[in-house]
């Protein structure tokens, strides 16, 4: 987990220190700080949405990602729930980061996340009961979503509240986007519709959102069943990697390759 986290923790730490010494800073320092902060936010957005997307790159939280993305409505519901939990847990973890003993930080993070998941679960039970039922066990299972505890451990526990909240927001949006795209693919292939059952999430007006993309005599069950999720997910990751490779190729290769001599042995 830690190997894949962004390397911007050090710079965030630096910002943190400047924030503490804010009283003594003069005008030029504060503008410099602002620029750095903006760069930090930009980096966080890129990391969360693309470079370090929890769904496509970190491959965290695959269980709900694959299990409930049968329709766009389900995917959106779970995506929003995860987003909410992620932001709240990041803020809380960041707020109490100075008082959490290092040795027992993981149980503390889990308890915080569990508390927020319980809140979200009760809220969904109260206001979106249909969706609550169709998400089933995967709603309480957000507690075990590695993307959330991963962000708490790798980012929120080392950075101030604002950045942590923004990081949670971007990571959550990135995760929700993957969920929705996957849900859309599977819903179109599986039953030929889009936004079927959106009224469960958004209220009765949303039932008019339902789009009949294609008319099938019979459902393509594979797309709705878990194997379809794995295959579609594989394709999404492949597309992302292809785009990355293309972008890398488009960049002018400036640094000269150094000649290295490699000793080849046949032992392995």
């Amino acid at each position: 987990m830690s190997t894949k986290t962004p390397n911007n923790n050090a710079s965030a730490q630096a910002i943190n220190e400047t924030a503490i010494n804010d009283d003594t800073a003069n005008a030029s320092q504060s503008s410099e700080k602002k620029a750095m902060l903006n760069a930090e936010y930009k980096e966080l957005a890129i990391q969360g949405l693309w470079k370090n997307n929890p769904g496509l790159v970190q491959l965290l939280g695959l269980c709900p990602l694959l299990a409930v993305t049968g329709t766009v409505a389900n995917a959106l519901g779970l995506g929003l729930a995860t987003l909410l939990v992620l932001i709240c847990s990041n803020v809380t973890v960041s707020a109490i980061r100075h008082w959490v003993p290092k040795e027992i930080r993981i149980p503390i993070f889990v308890l915080i996340i569990a508390a927020f998941v319980t809140c979200v679960q009760l809220l969904m039970n109260a206001y979106t009961f249909g969706l609550y039922q169709s998400l089933g066990i995967f709603l309480p299972l957000i507690v075990t979503n590695c993307a959330i505890i991963g962000r708490a451990e790798a980012y929120a526990s080392k950075n101030p509240i604002k950045q942590a909240a923004f990081d949670g927001f971007m990571m959550g949006i990135g995760f929700a986007l993957v969920l929705v795209v996957l849900g859309a693919i599977r819903e179109i292939l599986g039953q030929g519709t889009l936004f079927d059952g959106a009224h469960l999430l958004l209220g009765d007006w949303a039932s008019s959102l339902r789009i009949e993309v294609m008319q099938f005599d019979s459902q393509f069950l594979l797309a709705i069943l878990p194997p379809g999720a794995f295959i579609a997910m594989g394709f999404l990751i492949a597309i992302k990697n292809a785009i990355d490779a293309k972008m890398k190729k488009a960049q002018v290769n400036t640094h000269d390759g150094t000649i290295e001599r490699v000793r080849v042995n046949f032992d392995s």
Partner: protein
């Protein structure tokens, strides 16, 4: 002067992939002929459609991958996959079943993994299982043998039924399947399974007309046809004999034990051998050189395992036939089995 050093074996016939594939396709002809004789033109049409789709699909992906098209397109592997898938489909399944199955088999199960020689799962069986899971209704509407049909099913009627769902006279596929007494006829395996759950004994359910005089009307001859083709392949040394023999032995052991304990609810070994996809699985699919085990001991283990799985799925599973599932599971296990059944290198001690 340089010596050309190659690893063993040093003495082998320089046969090419396309040659092997061609022989396997030839060997399938007796079985296909029996299928045509008992079930009509349906499967021939599906095979033709499958070959066409397979070549198109293979061509597209090879072009995308910048591979030598003419060499790999006609190495016969895509055609063989298409033939095997076409044989497995219900004769009157709609045309898009074949197209989707072949696209999945060639595009995803074979080419996405890296093409011929890199696919961990048998493409034909993957395509078949995808279809079976996705379209259970269409994939289980098996048509009874021609001799039991009320409606004459000639070439044009079959074509029309596959492409439009109705014969030229307007009979639906469902009506074709219905016998004189108004009851839909299923395959022998399916009938047996339903009847045993209803509490009938095997002997009682064997009186149904889909079973014919011996074991399974039509199916027994199709299976016999594939045995002939398989023996031809073994004689030609195209496939190892250990795989089919151990597979059939696996089914024999399981069904013999079950028959000895409870003859009322377990059919005989011959019924298991000669109905469903047993023989095509044993000689044509389990022997796939890419996805099967490679060592002799490994082949025997894979065969026995597949036999056990087929018996278990047929007896306790949700689907009437389990050859495709059993073979895919064995494909999954093959690398591990190979790992533990490495033959001893000459000159090395055991262990």
């Amino acid at each position: 002067m340089a010596f050309w050093i190659a690893s063993s074996p040093h003495n082998h016939i320089q046969s090419e992939t396309s040659q092997l594939m061609r022989h396997v396709i030839y060997a399938a002809i007796p079985g296909i002929f029996a299928q045509w004789y008992f079930f009509g033109w349906g499967n021939l049409i599906h095979i033709g459609l499958a070959i066409l789709t397979a070549l198109l699909c293979e061509f597209t992906i090879l072009a995308l991958r910048n591979k030598p098209i003419s060499k790999e397109l006609f190495d016969g592997s895509a055609i063989l996959t298409a033939v095997l898938l076409g044989i497995c489909l219900p004769a009157l399944a709609p045309w898009w079943i074949t197209v989707i199955g072949v696209i999945f088999a060639i595009g995803i199960a074979k080419q996405l993994y890296g093409g011929l020689g890199h696919n961990p799962f048998n493409p034909a069986m993957t395509g078949y299982v995808v279809l079976l899971i996705s379209f259970p209704l269409q994939m289980t509407t098996w048509q009874p043998p021609l001799s039991l049909l009320n409606i004459e099913l000639n070439l044009s009627n079959t074509l029309s039924a596959i492409f439009t769902g109705f014969t030229l006279e307007g009979y639906s596929v469902e009506q074709i399947r219905t016998g004189i007494d108004g009851i839909t006829m299923a395959t022998p395996l399916d009938t047996l399974k339903t009847n045993t759950t209803l509490g009938l004994t095997v002997y009682e359910s064997m009186t149904a007309n889909v079973f014919g005089d011996n074991f399974a009307l039509g199916w027994e001859w199709i299976n016999a046809g594939f045995v002939i083709g398989g023996i031809y392949l073994i004689i030609k040394k195209m496939i190892p004999w250990q795989t089919p023999v151990s597979f059939l032995a696996g089914i024999f052991i399981c069904s013999f034990i079950a028959y000895s304990i409870n003859p009322d609810s377990s059919p005989s070994t011959m019924f298991h051998w000669l109905s469903g996809a047993t023989m095509i699985g044993a000689f044509f699919i389990l022997t796939d050189p890419v996805t099967g085990a490679t060592s002799i001991k490994g082949r025997i283990i894979v065969g026995l395992l597949a036999g056990l799985l087929v018996y278990l799925i047929r007896t306790f599973g949700g689907y009437p036939d389990g050859v495709a599932f059993a073979i895919l599971l064995c494909n999954m296990a093959a690398p591990l089995i190979d790992q533990y059944t490495r033959p001893r290198t000459y000159g090395h001690t055991k262990g």
